[in-house]
Subunit: 497 residues, 2 copies
């Protein structure tokens, strides 16, 4: 067997283990009966360890070394060696004993966070958080970095991004958004959205979500829609990309928006071509690029006037309470803005401010400019400055997200970048697709999907985010597209003059 | 680490892989989208190979050799070494290259059988079947046996059973059943059961099944009920024993009976105590003993007058069509007898004759007394003698079951043994539990379950079937209990005098 064949076979074996793991995780969050959890944790632990061992095996190291020196690899093979090699070196950089120690501490920290959040008592979590920050700094040292240890962490989620570059994106974005939100709240007319509240059976909500997913051309022969507490999308294997969603009994919009969001993630994964299977490139380019797909379908499409022109009759048919609501009323109702305390409930205008706040704080923690003890106060202060609201307790403040409790630093910016990228991509799509809005208004969403397949999905992880964005849009990551989209749209929705 | 600890750890690792495999299989038959099947087959193949390698590893062989010579093992440890050692030696006896060759041929044979069944053309399957018979004989030679090669095969499903002993059970059973069925049909009064037919929504049927499973004390916090094409039960891990069932839209009884049958299997697995976890003993004593549990709940309980005394009001509440049907009418309707062509649709009186026929034919194939070419004719002939009906085509005759197509010989007798054992166990339970029928009639099924837990479930695979039966009933496997049960019950139901 040639080195290339042996390398491919090795990745294939890893891929199969990861497929089994993906199913174990999916099942855990959709079907697993309560008493099955302890044993499941052991099974997941065993397979995770096996997959990890394959990812740092000397055999793999040998293949990579050989292939990195080989000429004559094609583009996919070169990209595979680059991406897999990078992951290999990052994994190898971490001493196994250190990783185990961290894993145990992270599990404890997550438990402490749960309790702290429940009791809304940051004090119960502070020491754990400090420990997680210490671990994160050590990870950064092991990985290595040029300017900031934070860069070594964000690299995991958004390859090629740095905290310096993030700041050049965040500052102008914030300068536009903060005063605009103030204006919306003070001078704008809030849409009426009471008709979105009521009592909606799960079956009705599921039917509505399925109609949206079908319109998006999500392939249900290669996927499923199931309920879960926290919506997510997972690729279990080729031909098997599953979406979960959450239906709130009293709100008809939330579940639909979740389904479209996850559907956007799923379309990306369903669009990965077979030639990238089990090459290390059979996933999204980054967390941010992945989020750009979910946010595009949820917001740029799903909260557009054209989408509701098409979707209103369907919604009226399925949801009797909406039977006499007009397209314009629906469109406005799905676009209400409300500066609020909790990120996951935020609308598309205020969402990014929740992220900026987290970025500032976590970057400060990792670089040592901020003490964990000061976090609750700094959180309240930033909320006030950015959104004009202040949490009354830490449960709705610094304790609201799970990420930090398990040592996930550098993850949050992907959410913001996804929003910005989605606007850049959508603007590019609008240039390329004639009459895009009319097409959406007539329910023909396939042109947009084809464009995404052609320009983004087909490449999987072959390009780093920045390179991909430049190839598709001719521009660097830039907040101005997003700002323009938000201002134009909400000036109209809120009747600003 | 002591040898015993290392041995336990090894079994634990095997158990974790088997848990992942069980989930992959369950998902394949309940949730997997159509396009996910090819990749899933690869994932299952990989994990199966890994689990198999652990089961024949030299490390395990070494532990077993050590432990077989050790004094001071407790009863569970000794049984574990015996059961795991036996499986190890059986697996080791098969040359890997031979096994691979067989696996490929079996997959082809199953495909050929599917086509042959669809076209009802035995000729398309004959050569494959012949090949499967050859493989089965070779397996028997590798495993070794005393009297008949068939014994080496049945050992896989019913340890300690032989074809000679089976015959001593079958002959008297057949001599009683064949004339009794003839009498039922000629002199008996067939119950009216038209009210079981109609149009029944899945949700209604599911509600009915859940009520029955709850009454049986199936723990839904450690299990689930899902639909699948062929009902089955699977233990994914401790605290996770899942049941599937099949609802026929036009028949309200079929799905309920399936659910209770699978629920019986599930109660067995839920009753395996923690101390047997991942010892090789954490499953039923045999296929026959397992089937005794499913058949007991499906038939001895689920088709009894006392059960319907309790369950009729529940059924009437959930199924409007039954609202004015009496307990007696329901009881009789669930006990109609109909000599028919297809095993899986057979009632409890005629079922065993379907099995006897299969036993005769497969035993003849394996011992070389029967040529595959003669099978269709032999099948028709036996159906006529035993049940008085003759299939018009092979799809409803010799091609109806999947088992032989993948080389499963020696499996069928478990179904019959399960029926016989269930009657023996139930008679013993009736002796031990005061007023068992009244308890069932008042919905208190927990006494029966406790008895099964105490006498059967708690031992898992510690005892071979015969030993277990003798411990519980004081008797050897014997058809007379079953015959008495059938004759008493159906003499009454069919008004024979």
């Amino acid at each position: 067997m040639s080195t290339l064949d042996a390398y491919r076979e090795h990745l294939r074996e890893m891929g199969k283990l990861e497929s089994a793991l993906a199913l174990l995780h999916w099942d855990q969050r959709t079907n697993l009966p309560r008493k099955g959890h302890p044993a499941r944790a052991e099974v997941v632990g065993k397979l995770t360890k096996m997959a990890f061992e394959l990812s740092i095996s000397d055999k793999l190291g040998g293949y990579l070394q050989d292939l990195e020196e080989q000429d004559g690899l094609n583009e996919v093979e070169r990209a595979s060696v680059r991406v897999v090699g990078k992951a290999y070196r990052r994994h190898k950089a971490i001493p196994p004993a250190f990783y185990e120690e961290y894993a145990v501490a992270a599990a404890r920290s997550e438990t402490a966070w749960e309790e702290a959040k429940e009791k809304s008592d940051f004090g119960l979590f502070k020491d754990h958080l400090e420990r997680m920050v210490d671990y994160a700094r050590k990870f950064a040292e092991y990985y290595g970095y040029e300017d900031s240890p934070y860069d070594a962490l964000i690299e995991e989620f958004e390859p090629g991004m740095t905290s310096a570059e993030l700041k050049t994106i965040i500052v102008p974005l914030r300068e536009k958004l903060v005063p605009f939100i103030k204006r919306l709240m003070e001078d704008g007319t809030r849409p009426e959205d009471g008709f979105m509240q009521g009592s909606f059976a799960d079956e009705m909500q599921r039917a509505l979500s399925l109609k949206a997913l079908e319109a998006m051309n999500y392939d249900l022969d290669a996927g499923r829609l199931d309920p879960s507490v926290h919506p997510f999308t997972t690729t279990i294997g080729p031909g098997d990309v599953r979406v979960t969603t959450r239906f709130l009994p009293h709100n008809i919009l939330s579940g639909l928006a979740s389904s479209m969001h996850e559907g956007g993630h799923a379309l990306y994964d369903q669009g990965i071509p077979d030639k990238l299977r089990w090459t290390g490139l059979d996933e999204g380019a980054s967390f941010g690029i992945h989020e750009s797909q979910s946010r595009m379908w949820e917001n740029l499409v799903g909260r557009s006037r054209s989408f509701w022109t098409f979707f209103a009759p369907i919604a009226r048919e399925i949801v009797p309470q909406l039977s006499s609501v007009s397209v314009e009323e629906l469109y406005r109702a799905v676009n209400t803005v409300e500066p609020s305390l909790v990120r996951v409930e935020a609308d598309e205008v205020t969402y990014n401010l929740h992220i900026m706040l987290r970025f500032e704080l976590e970057e400060g923690l990792i670089t040592g400019k901020i003490d964990t003890g000061d976090l609750p106060e700094l959180w309240r202060d930033a909320m006030k400055r950015y959104l004009g609201v202040v949490p009354e307790d830490d449960a709705h403040g610094v304790l609201q997200d799970v990420h930090w409790s398990s040592g996930l630093f550098g993850y949050f910016p992907s959410y913001m970048l996804g929003n910005l990228y989605s606007a850049q991509f959508f603007a590019a799509a609008r240039k390329d697709i004639a009459d895009l809005d009319q097409k959406i208004a007539s329910g023909k969403l396939s042109d947009l999907l084809s464009w995404l397949r052609e320009n983004i999905h087909q490449y999987g992880k072959m390009y780093e985010p920045k390179e991909l964005i430049e190839r598709v849009t001719g521009e660097k990551p830039d907040p101005s597209c997003f700002v323009r989209y938000i201002m134009d749209k909400y000036t109209d929705v809120y009747d600003l003059h």
